[in-house]
């Protein structure tokens, strides 16, 4: 039983670290703000959630009681990190940061154009 717990903990921690590393490489290499935000707000969140789940299982194995602070941290990060990504992305669009020059479609600009035409 203990060995199975250890294998699960090691797998969760290594998967989480690998996902955070992949998110950092995405933030370095992708071309504009929106794609970088896409990498940072999804892959980094999942990596940190895996690491925190491994930590929770480690202390559950060691002490035999559920540690509620780690569970609160997991739920809080899972709820707030996509919201923060959405807010940054909307602030970037409204403050006039350009999309990548090879991107082919801008749905928000299209929608605002049709709404302005309908309002007139």
């Amino acid at each position: 039983m203990i060995e199975i717990f250890k294998i699960i903990i090691v797998a969760l921690i290594l998967i989480g670290a690998f996902l955070s590393l992949v998110a950092a490489f995405g933030v370095i290499r992708l071309p504009d703000v929106y794609t970088r935000n896409h990498a940072a707000s999804k892959a980094a969140t999942l990596g940190v959630l895996a690491v925190l789940l491994g930590t929770f299982l480690y202390f559950y194995m060691k002490e035999g009681q559920v540690n509620s602070r780690v569970i609160l941290g997991i739920v809080f990060i899972f709820v707030t990190s996509p919201v923060a990504g959405h807010l940054i992305s909307r602030a970037a669009y409204n403050s006039g940061v350009k999309l990548w020059d090879k991107s082919v479609q801008d749905d928000l600009k299209l929608k605002e154009a049709t709404q302005a035409k309908k309002g007139k």
Partner: protein, 94 residues
């Protein structure tokens, strides 16, 4: 076995934070830097969790929740500042 995995994971997280610091210094626009700072805050949470496994103590588990809350509030304040020019708006009838 767990200690070796924790050492490897702390190394990976440190490399990830170095890459994000590169984006924080070089990033061409202001939202790039805010994205990098948000991801650094999230990665610091994971490093605190890994260090508390490595030191085998549960005294640092409040820091996880605290860093998550502070990172979220800082990101929201920065994005409101970038979008509207103020972080806290004034009341209308003052």
């Amino acid at each position: 076995m767990i200690l070796i995995a924790v050492k490897i994971a702390i190394l990976c997280m440190s490399i990830a934070i170095l890459g994000l610091i590169y984006r924080l210094i070089k990033g061409p626009s202001m939202p790039d830097r805010v994205v990098a700072l948000d991801a650094i805050g999230i990665n610091l949470v994971a490093i605190v969790a890994l260090v508390s496994i490595f030191l085998d103590t549960n005294a640092f588990l409040e820091v996880i929740l605290l860093l998550g809350i502070l990172s979220f509030i800082g990101t929201v304040a920065f994005s409101k500042y970038l979008e509207k020019g103020v972080a806290l708006e004034r009341d209308r009838d003052l």
